[in-house]
Assembly symmetry: D2
Homo-oligomer: 374 residues x 4
């Protein structure tokens, strides 16, 4: 339930205002160079307080590796990555403990588990994704070390504002080392992790929502490069199915697409099908990549292209109607202001992590990476 | 890899032009009344030849249950459902065996497994979903018997033609027993399984594509009713994540949405959040169902609403460019005409099956259904 | 529950007097030469009626492979091996249906599942192990094809009669190709699968028990040769732990030993430890093999040596006291004579099968055999 | 690989001389009262330095729970139990790093993983079982809270000295609350956890071995009381098979028996079978418990009786022959004295833990304990 992956397994733990959060990563083969910095740099990308668009909660999110590394390399034993919570304010949540927030997991957790750690959403908090990112950082290192695989997420839409950059609009950017590097830089520089030229419009859109004590959602695209042909095991372990599961298990994700996604439904077969050809060196190539890198559940060598729909953050300052589970009354609430008006940019490292973990797991299961030792 | 589910497990087997296809269903609790007719009626809905829009391959798809039933009820032992293939024409595929069809799994299977049973796509054929439907029929019976759960799939879009019926356009239809029954009837009567009044437009759209030896895709909506509050186990066993995985593991599915899906990304938090209230009997109710029945990965008692994007059938008669893996030449192919110009209506029972199996598995894992005996 | 293995997975199905028994084997890599004869020869070794010491039930146990093979080789898809039951006599069991047989699963199955297929023990019958043997035959072929691994089981004890042949008494027999071949022959020739020179004593012991309408048990030793160093994944996927689980899941097995087993507990460390040395070619060798081929849960290159204790067949003709679940009376029963007075020789192919499946699964998981394609 | 259990899952991590050891326990239902003391008391029983028969390594083994508890009760979220290592002396192991100790995992880990944390055996150290005990303590609490289940382990043999107390010698002790309590006390008082009257003989036996710088093994019996009828899921999830796997995954265990174990092989069916009867209140009873509480892989309501063979500790001061992996020479070693001359008494809490975790997992899977919330 809190473990993801079969051969490369990430078990996450911790609550928003508990003592610590983190992950145990099991199944990483030995001899992978790995240190805390590899993980820290990914956690820093997820950290709150990176821009005015995120919660001001102050957390260093400093990771400690407590097992599984010897002389700078993995040993094949489980790796515990731990982050102690610092800025815990459990009292902030006392007043909302009986009034489940609309759009939140408060109600379902409370009814399912009875003893619900409601402080900051407890287990249902986005803070739990620190564990995902720890697992993802290790998976990314493994994928990069063995196959030079690169995973890149960026915002393509905020609310109703569609960006002018996306894989299908600008596929050539992903084929060139230079342009790829500059893409990466522009993503990391943008507070919304959006490389589109119209990202300022998006920022204004969010600022307007913030004035109304409201929140916005968006769409993120994730591209994985250099995945070899043959990853994914039909029928029920298909690469796209596992990726969909991984991405949909991130809070706030309401839709997942592979390749052209819902657009595919509108095309004719003759438009959709990616024709193949041999290039001059007799390498197999595709004229297009409408499939998004997956055919029959197996990677086909082209970039893997995914998109996820992220709903607006449910915690908003605006007045909302809800129920009081103690008094059985219909009531109104206004949620205090420590929340992200847009979670999209901070979800990106989490989405990349889930793609990385899924790929690492499937590449071991498909025989591309040795399960025990590099 | 060919097993789906942890506690309610469906293992599918068989090839398009092999001797048989089917499934072993393990983990169905004992004492569920079950007979071959329960399965046959679902297989009939998936069968080829139901309309002019499907392949003319002649298959009775007659299921035999070979184990796990005693005196008309399950025993808790694995249930083998077997369908012998009758209309096998392996020779039809000889000419395409070295020229992978664009948009198909031919290439990836061939490169991954080397010994690829290319006859009719072998293991990658839609025929394999007979196993899914067998598993789904048993899951449906279990869900209906224990919680009166109903799973309903229907077409909401074909190519560029959007239907005028959908859950969000007509939510009231799902609240009333009579209207629900008439909805079901109109679905089953329609060759496209489309209850929209403009479904004739869709049919014309397909006929036109058929004239061009082309194919079309579409969008299917699936609604599950009467799922109790509490199904789904965060973090990585979320109801929506498992459903996404199950649906995305169906061939041709390129996108999955829950609730408002990609539409959510465009809304403000105040628009998206489903407010709660107590009705007169102090039952918890939601004013809207934008979330599609899932909050924090756990069912919240409202209808579960899913949508999947289905790409156009890749097998088309139109000339296409591809490669010859034996001669290393770039070539052209025209695929013979025994294929569905639109697979959407036949995918619906398969999608319902995946939803049913996922729900059965999670309801056992969430403690709603006893794992061993009813 | 009815699936064994994670990467090489065997799902067994069927009842003693149902329509069929068999297995679906998933995860066997493609390109392994395999035909029905490979499986049939193992089933023949398990078949009833091979000697006066086994049940006279007449079953050909003819296997049909219905999927997963193409042009004489595996394709990586699941392999269905099916055996139709022929000699079903459900009526024989009517009189015992309310009086659970002592030492049998009748009572526990009945209480756990309520709807218990009591005919011949139904699902709890030894007949179900046909599925194990099908899975084991494929695993054996895979192990032999890839690493020339050989798995050899034989009786070392019947009742109180200990045989004079065992691995620790005659280790040299296993080092020499000629002596090994002659060992195999003497095993297969013996009705008890016992290569000891005093096996006639054992036969007399059984005959005497048969006269008393009683049954006997015994001890089986299983040796696996040529397993490379490195198989098994600590902490909880240890080679010995998985083997113990596999063997203990065979009906009637009450104890499992690895290497010197319970004898180890009596030794001093200096006696037990297997000292290492380099031979002339600088190969690592062990002076002894007290550990039975496993150190720290990982194979160490020496023969894997296992022993299992098999209790006497519970079905005996002798009068026994039991209960009537319908009348709530204490009663006496005498069970009809169609049962094996000693199940030991027929369990041997099943035990070998479980060892083979366990090894195949772990060798894939440990990276020795490619998970998808040879 | 480092996770045990399917529904109640324990993931262990840490190395002997790394920064910390511990476990994440996932799948414990919410609302179980639990605090650090529940775990600490079990860790104290496993701790080194309890008697002259154990290693003098000084470790407090103080556990911290860092997640999963809220207001003194579990929440259904994963529980992280962490123990920081204090007394690390990595330098002690420098001299043996190239000379694998006979009977140890040094060689197999080194060859399998290459980057082997050899300090104190690293991952292969008994210290790793702190994680097992943390998981076991939570499982014990769950079993005791829900079904009043009690798990009791004790020494029945040390080297060649057989104790005069065992379940089959003294079954009546387990039926009476008073005698059971006094049994428990006598176990905890004994440095060998041996309630036999001749345990002093055993102590002398060990002392003599210590003088020779040698070590001894032994046999432990574990009894589980109050397990209800119906736990265990055939065919491959049998209670006895899972228990065998769990126990065999403890380092140094070379054999496992259920009920009469290897003794069963010597009996006639009429001796072995446990006859049933109705007592005056029409409860089902067994006249004997030769089966050790399991019939057909399912618990039958009688005490579950298990025995494990523990080999002598491989680390001994006596001179031994081995190899130098760096110089390729045959060499001799004498291992420094910080090791347990007998590990048997300290393995007992670990064995109890594995039995408890196995039972907790199977009782959830068999529907006896709700998977999410008590």
């Amino acid at each position: 339930m809190n473990t993801y992956g079969d051969m490369f397994r990430v078990t996450v733990f911790g609550e928003s205002h508990g003592r610590a959060v983190g992950a145990v990563v099991d199944g990483c083969p030995s001899n992978l160079p790995l240190n805390e910095e590899d993980i820290q740099k990914e956690l820093n990308r997820r950290k709150p307080g990176q821009s005015i668009f995120s919660t001001p909660r102050k957390e260093e999110d400093k990771v400690e590796i407590l097992s599984g590394i010897f002389r700078g390399k993995t040993t094949g034993a489980p790796i515990l990555g731990l982050v102690y919570n610092k800025n815990m304010r459990p009292k902030d949540y006392e007043k909302i403990k009986d009034t489940p927030r609309p759009g939140h997991a408060d109600l379902t957790y409370k009814l399912k588990y009875k003893n619900y750690d409601y402080r900051g959403g407890g287990r249902a908090s986005g803070r739990v994704t620190i564990g995902h990112v720890i697992g993802g950082a290790i998976a990314k290192k493994l994928l990069s070390y063995t196959y030079n695989i690169k995973i890149l997420g960026y915002t393509v839409k905020i609310g109703k504002i569609e960006g002018d950059f996306s894989y299908y609009k600008n596929p050539e950017v992903f084929e060139n080392k230079e342009s790829l590097k500059s893409l990466e830089e522009s993503i990391e520089k943008s507070p919304l992790r959006c490389p589109s030229t119209n990202s300022v419009e998006m920022e204004e859109y969010i600022l307007k929502a913030m004035e109304e004590k409201d929140s916005v959602g968006g769409v993120v695209e994730i591209v994985a490069l250099n995945v070899p042909i043959g990853v994914g095991n039909p029928i029920f372990n298909k690469l796209n199915a596992e990726l969909a599961r991984g991405l949909m298990s991130i809070n706030a994700v309401k839709g997942v697409e592979v390749g052209l996604g819902f657009k595919s439904a509108e095309l004719y077969g003759s438009e959709m099908n990616d024709e193949m050809y041999f290039d001059e060196d007799k390498n197999i190539k595709f004229r297009t990549n409408h499939c998004g890198g997956v055919l029959g559940g197996i990677s086909c060598g082209t970039p893997i292209v995914l998109r996820i729909a992220i709903k607006p953050t449910p915690s908003i300052g605006k007045k909302q109607r809800t129920i009081n589970l103690k008094t059985y009354e219909n009531v109104e609430i206004e949620i205090g202001g420590r929340h992200d008006p847009v979670i999209v940019p901070r979800i990106i490292p989490v989405a990349e992590a889930m793609v990385a973990i899924t790929l690492a797991d499937l590449m071991i299961k498909s025989g591309f990476i040795h399960p025990c030792s590099l």
